[in-house]
């Protein structure tokens, strides 16, 4: 030990490079030690830990060592060798490169690293080489880079992406890392110009080449529309979303054109036809062989697909292997052309559905929108867009970045029109042709500073939550406890919305974790229900709720306050959803179905009852603010003795009627679902009695213990409402 320390002091214990280091081979010593060591023994330092060594990167293991294979040549060396020619690129080659970049981009969206997909192209790493010789491809590459920046920005500010969803590592690539760069529209004029050029070339060319130029033009237009849509979504305003919808509709049409002229799809169809011909020729023997080696053939097809993904000019699989970090989170898999187009088609459709949020008014409609979108099981880009659009002040960075993007966009617009602006963002040089639909708000607020623009009405913030609970938006109108409650439910609902838009595995777990928030909120609701200011507010607003006379009555479950009732309803909904997601994720054994459905029916019953109770309170929604602020009328003056002063009665306005109708609909819907769950329970029991579903053999724990384990999250303090159900019930 002392010798070791002494020697290491001499050397200095560091990576010495250059003339200071010398090396002595020790291969022979290691071989001798290998022979001398008894089996199971090892030589190690005092601080060595096998537990830590479990996370060591194994050199040469393709799943862990990203740089295992491939050449060590630099980008410049590869370009000098002619791996990415710029002169003499045919239109067909240009089209092939464009399509391959699209496939790579889709692969990136589905978890592969950017360095191994989009930036495995030498043209993407050095796009300036294309400027003079291949302007069409140059414009496309700039567009792809801009779109990747926009997608990365949206994903990082959408706050629902996890490491298994997408890889946002960009170190060493020509994309700024931190701070996350704002997406911009500088590529749009370039794409417009290239599109016009491609269409002109198509007109002047003959049949096969003309089709290729048309396909190139379709690619450029698709890229333009996709980027325009992302910019529109990023603005987080009604005008921006309307513009995004237009771009998405156009992008879907362009994608169809692109698919129709896809060289990759045509090649795939030819190879399928060839394999079919080969299969027919060899007859039954080949069928038998295929059945036996099915998995091997799938692996072979995957291998071939991986190799063919880099067949296009300029693509080198491991050109960026040293940028990947020691161990990638997963093995990079490039999608097939068909799968990539299917993904892009579904992504555009899901983004369209995310933009439906602009029709949302009110918390109930927002919840339905989120639940409907969550059932789509969309990709990370669409989910990020959906959450970004609804995220309120609880997600500070999302709001701040939307403001920054609006400022930058307005600065570009002002520069283009020649008017002075107050933005501190730098103005680009070539932003003359600005996409008006994606640039400004339709309400004409582009002339005002972005900070003054109120958030859209669908954003999860204080206004929408005050409408949900029929509380006044203005602080202090219903007392400080009610204000605190309102602030807390904004946070809880924002967390719930984020949970709903995570991937399905994380979604269920996050919903369970969110029950702690709801338990905390319930205490705030009880405090608010009992506060004098809130009780006075409900009297002024003429709610049909009789407050409890004292605290003893308040603890009685037959005197639930309106706010605590609302919280109980939301908690029950969250619990029911958590249970139902378990079926989707295949977490339950058939023997557990009965108890899970039974508990679901109980929770849905709680939702029904609480909806009916809230309906009975007749809380005015739109008239609440007026009624709460209006003071009782003064007594009549002398000479008007016949007229008695009466407080203003809030008339049932449209928003109140809508709220009441919504509560009734919720009660009916949950009653229906509860009945369905009870029916499934009875079916399970009938199957058990009939012997079709036998009782499980429980070796390690009893049915009661399994019940307690399955629903433990609902029994954990401080969660008190909905009342947890025991096994005996």
């Amino acid at each position: 030990m002392e010798d070791r320390i002494g020697v290491s002091k001499v050397v200095g214990g560091s990576h010495m490079q250059g003339g200071g280091a010398s090396y002595v081979p020790i291969t022979g010593l290691l071989e001798r030690v290998r022979q001398d060591l008894p089996l199971g023994e090892m030589v190690h330092t005092d601080t060595f830990s096998l537990f830590e060594a479990m996370s060591a990167v194994e050199l040469g293991n393709v799943k862990m060592d990203a740089a295992m294979s491939g050449s060590c040549k630099s980008v410049e060396e590869l370009i000098q060798e002619g791996a990415a020619p710029v002169e003499g690129l045919t239109p067909a080659q240009t089209l092939l490169i464009m399509e391959r970049l699209l496939v790579m981009e889709a692969s990136w969206h589905n978890g592969a690293a950017l360095a191994q997909t989009v930036f495995a192209s030498l043209y993407m790493l050095r796009p300036d080489r294309l400027r003079d010789n291949s302007p069409l491809l140059h414009a496309y590459c700039e567009g792809v880079k801009a779109t990747c920046i926009a997608v990365r920005w949206l994903v990082m500010h959408g706050a629902v992406a996890e490491e298994e969803d997408i890889n946002c590592w960009v170190q060493g690539l020509p994309i700024p890392d931190m701070p996350v760069p704002l997406p911009d529209a500088r590529c749009l004029p370039l794409l417009d110009q290239a599109t016009q050029s491609a269409k002109g070339l198509a007109k002047g060319a003959t049949a096969p080449e003309a089709d290729v130029y048309k396909a190139i033009a379709a690619h450029l237009e698709f890229r333009r529309d996709l980027h325009g849509a992302l910019l529109g979504l990023g603005l987080k305003s009604e005008g921006g979303v309307v513009g995004a919808v237009a771009h998405l509709t156009s992008a879907q049409a362009r994608l169809q054109q692109v698919m129709g002229a896809s060289p990759g799809l045509q090649q795939q169809q030819r190879s399928i036809a060839d394999s079919q011909n080969g299969k027919d020729a060899s007859g039954a023997a080949s069928t038998q062989k295929e059945g036996q080696g099915c998995e091997a053939k799938q692996q072979q097809r995957q291998q071939q697909r991986q190799e063919s993904a880099f067949d296009a000019p300029g693509f080198v699989e491991n050109v960026n292997k040293y940028l990947l970090g020691p161990a990638p989170p997963r093995a990079a898999v490039v999608m097939s052309t068909e799968a990539a187009y299917a993904y892009l088609k579904s992504m555009l459709g899901h983004l369209q559905q995310a933009t439906d949020v602009m029709h949302v008014r009110g918390y109930r409609a927002l919840v339905q929108h989120i639940e409907r979108f969550a059932r789509l099981r969309a990709g990370v880009v669409a989910r990020s867009a959906a959450h970004y659009l609804i995220a309120g002040k609880a997600w500070g960075p999302a709001m701040a970045s939307a403001t920054a993007l609006r400022q930058a966009t307005e600065a570009e617009g002002a520069a283009a029109s020649g008017t002075p602006n107050n933005s501190s963002q730098p103005t680009p040089d070539n932003s003359k042709h600005r996409d008006q639909a994606a640039s400004g708000d339709k309400d004409g607020s582009s002339a005002n500073p972005a900070q003054d623009v109120p958030p859209p009405p669908w954003v999860l913030d204080r206004p929408i939550m005050s409408e949900a609970c029929a509380l006044p938006e203005a602080p202090g109108a219903a007392g400080p406890e009610a204000d605190l409650f309102l602030d807390q439910i904004v946070i809880a609902s924002s967390n719930w919305a984020q949970s709903m838009l995570l991937n399905s595995c994380r979604q269920r777990r996050r919903l369970r974790r969110g029950l702690d928030d709801w338990a905390n909120i319930y205490q705030h609701a009880l405090n608010a229900d009992m506060s004098e200011e809130f009780v006075a507010f409900t009297k002024r607003a003429q709610w049909a709720w009789t407050p409890p006379k004292d605290e003893v009555e308040a603890m009685n479950e037959f005197y639930p306050g309106p706010l605590s009732t609302w919280v109980e309803c939301q908690t029950a909904a969250s619990e029911a959803l958590h249970l139902l997601l378990g079926f989707e994720l295949d977490l339950y054994q058939p023997s557990e179905y009965a108890m899970v459905y039974w508990y679901c029916s109980v929770l849905l019953g709680v939702q029904r009852i609480t909806s009916q109770v809230m309906h009975s309170y007749r809380c005015p929604a739109g008239g609440a603010s007026k009624a709460s602020m209006a003071l009782p009328a003064k007594p009549g003056k002398k000479g008007n003795k016949g007229r008695a002063a009466t407080p203003p009665s809030p008339l049932p306005d449209a928003s109140t009627a809508r709220r009441q109708a919504g509560l009734i609909m919720d009660a009916v819907r949950t009653e229906l679902l509860s009945s369905m769950c009870l029916g499934l329970v009875r079916l399970q029991l009938a199957l058990k009695v009939a012997g079709i579903v036998p009782d499980p053999i429980l070796t390690f724990n009893s049915q009661r213990e399994r019940f307690d384990q399955r629903f433990a999250a609902f029994h954990t303090p401080p969660l008190v409402r909905p009342e947890p159900m025991g096994y005996g019930e």
């Binding site: 010798d3 070791r4 020697v7 290491s8 001499v10 050397v11 200095g12 214990g13 560091s14 990576h15 010495m16 200071g20 280091a21 010398s22 090396y23 002595v24 081979p25 020790i26 291969t27 022979g28 010593l29 290691l30 071989e31 001798r32 030690v33 290998r34 001398d36 060591l37 008894p38 089996l39 199971g40 023994e41 090892m42 030589v43 190690h44 330092t45 060595f48 830590e52 060594a53 996370s55 060591a56 990167v57 194994e58 050199l59 040469g60 740089a67 295992m68 294979s69 060590c72 630099s74 040293y322 020691p326």
Partner: protein, 97 residues
């Protein structure tokens, strides 16, 4: 005679293992059959010949070394293994070959 032979064998075992222990936590350089060069602190050697290196980095031509953290180098990835020594102690460690 057998006992003496056993004692001698035990002594030679100890000397090889003792020599290896003396170079633990020293920096070594491993070249794999593909020509990749990894340097790191020697932390562990086992019966199968696997090496565990700490603070490992990979030398990348014309670029900054790539940090890899803790690395396990299997036997089949060890084309050449060298100990980093100062010039003054090179002669002393030539016997480790």
């Amino acid at each position: 005679m057998g006992a003496t032979h056993d004692q001698q064998a035990h002594t030679s075992e100890s000397s090889n293992i003792a020599q290896l222990k003396s170079i633990l936590q020293r920096f070594i350089r491993v070249t794999n059959p593909q020509g990749r060069i990894i340097t790191g602190e020697l932390l562990c050697v086992d019966k199968q010949g696997n090496l565990v290196l700490g603070k490992a980095q990979e030398e990348v031509p014309k670029a900054e070394p790539r940090q890899m953290g803790m690395v396990l180098v299997p036997m089949h990835q060890q084309k050449n293994v060298e100990l980093q020594v100062a010039l003054g102690e090179k002669l002393e460690h030539l016997s480790l070959q």
